[in-house]
Symmetry: C2
Subunit: 339 residues, 2 copies
């Protein structure tokens, strides 16, 4: 083991040489822009088709716009970024393959369902902290319409949603991670396990993912010997109102009460009382765009000093669900501190 890193407890890593978030950018759709976090996003696109001919191409364009905006804001050329860690929800990472190919940056394609931004930041920070790269880019996206088409029904059907259902966010968030200094530092990670409590309700993904979120948060706290109050915020991805109650209950059984410091991006991104979004927002883009806007601005302004960011994923495939299988969850935790 080299001097700069150490592995901790069951599954966590502590970086003695932290990786730094140098810059961030997000692009979201119209409805997200009208929500409570609207002013924090980098760009709000009012055409949900992004000028394209299909929802999948629209999500690719969303990724392309986000990376362009991030590189511009960072004053970087694509060839200055050594590796990209990225993914989306679509089969075979369709949005990522077509959204990122024009940048010609070596790519590690990732699939962690809606936890992908946690996985991408973790691997990006591990790569920079180890000295494998000066500059990497981590990204995740989702699009309401491409996700509905993939996982539920085409929008044209006008299907009704259960009150426990979440609305997939049209959004993409991306960060530049690098060495030595930045607007926030990544000091540790807790990669997640697949956790399956047998939930089969694909309209209730919050309940499907909550056990995985609880598992990762529990291991982060126990691996590092911390209490929930060590963090100004413990931020899950897209559990929504229903999943949040399950998370609190599961962690109370383990002896942790996180209710005072918990925040869920899916609850924050929409105003469910006026925006008709039921249990909240979801999708890779929910936590990614909330992170690359509201969350990083709080850290930059030092309103928060230390957070545990835990994007949460439901390992749902339309085929596996139709074949009667359960929906396992996974959640990847990242410790981020202000500088």
């Amino acid at each position: 083991m080299n001097d700069n890193t150490q592995y901790i407890g069951m599954q966590s890593i502590s970086f003695s040489n932290p990786a730094y978030i140098k810059e961030y950018y997000s692009v979201v759709g119209k409805k997200e822009g009208e929500g409570p976090l609207g002013k924090y996003f980098g760009q709000i696109e009012t055409d949900d088709m992004f000028g394209c001919n299909s929802w999948e191409e629209a999500e690719s364009a969303l990724q392309t716009e986000t990376v362009k905006g991030l590189l511009h804001k960072s004053n970087l050329e694509p060839h200055s970024v050594r590796y990209t860690f990225a993914g989306d929800l679509l089969g075979q990472l369709m949005a990522t393959s077509f959204g990122l190919k024009s940048f010609n940056i070596p790519l590690f394609g990732l699939y962690g369902a809606c936890s992908t931004m946690g996985e991408a930041i973790s691997l990006g920070a591990m790569t920079v902290s180890a000295g494998y790269a000066d500059t990497v880019l981590s990204l995740a996206s989702s699009h309401f319409a491409s996700a509905e088409k993939t996982f539920r029904f085409p929008l044209d059907y006008g299907s009704q949603l259960k009150s426990c259902a979440t609305r997939t966010v049209t959004g993409c968030g991306a960060v530049i991670i690098g060495k030595d200094s930045g607007i926030a530092k990544i000091t540790g990670v807790t990669p997640g396990r697949i956790v399956d409590y047998g939930c089969k309700e694909k309209d209730n993904m919050g309940a499907c993912m909550a056990p995985a979120a609880a598992n990762t948060i529990y291991h982060n706290l126990s691996d590092f010997g911390r209490t929930p109050e060590h963090y100004d915020k413990i931020i899950t991805g897209d559990l929504g109102y229903v999943g949040q109650t399950v998370l609190f209950d599961l962690l109370r059984i383990k002896g942790y009460d996180i209710s005072k410091v918990h925040m869920d991006c899916g609850i924050e991104i929409f105003d469910s009382s006026t925006q008709n979004t039921n249990s909240g927002g979801s999708g890779c883009g929910c936590s990614a765009s909330t992170f690359c806007g509201y969350i990083l601005e709080q850290l930059k302004a030092r309103k928060w000093r230390r957070i545990l960011f835990v994007p949460t994923g439901a390992l749902l495939s339309p085929v596996s669900a139709n074949e009667g299988n359960s929906i396992p969850g996974i959640a990847h935790g990242v410790v981020i501190e202000s500088v």
Copy 2:
């Protein structure tokens, strides 16, 4: 940058502290077992359904059997493995989610199409070499029937294949990567870019992937200042006979003739003259199972001293292809040496 690693050229990494392949295991289907490499696989399963009720569950069972075999051969319990890096070809990594959940090992889910074993070994080696873990597991799988159902037509249709088409391998390969010593050492990696020459022929994935393979091999050779003969073998994943000719032509234009040292897992795994496999084998499991059998045995026996292993992926989605898009490719290179 710490002392143990250095980044090289445009996109390669050299490990001063190599990571070691400690053990390997593979499970394949009946047809693969009857092929020229049959005696090198760990296990040949004659029931293509693996005792399950669907092709997707069969592929999950294939992964489960492979990890069980690998842990048994390694004399390891699941909790001794710190992280898994794994993926498959199905939408939302269905085979991986259900195939690996019972082991309860933290998971980084990966999608690199048929290049996934290269991505998984690269990230596993980067993680171990950096000191983030003592022991990790890297894995990739594919299943003929689940892939045909996803990307082409259900088997029951009895569709005919073009002569340039490849046959998806039913197979899974997995390695344990660790520190200090082993049966072969991983000394460098060259993560790949997305390369798109506009090929739209989903029955000719060899041609779609060859430009990406050429790009990664070219950058590996130029980053490290090596000639093709530096390697005893340069081994691509599943270009097949058609893709191989494209690869040779593209690299000759760049000044490299790799024809004397090239091997393609897709060409080796079947005897196309007697097994009716057209251009050869393909799928994540093609390069993964050939690696975790024939290739590692050559390195273990020191018949080869140094290889460049370059699994090749076609970033093909059934949706993107049906929407008229091209099929970009990606290839991840790993330098492996005998000990």
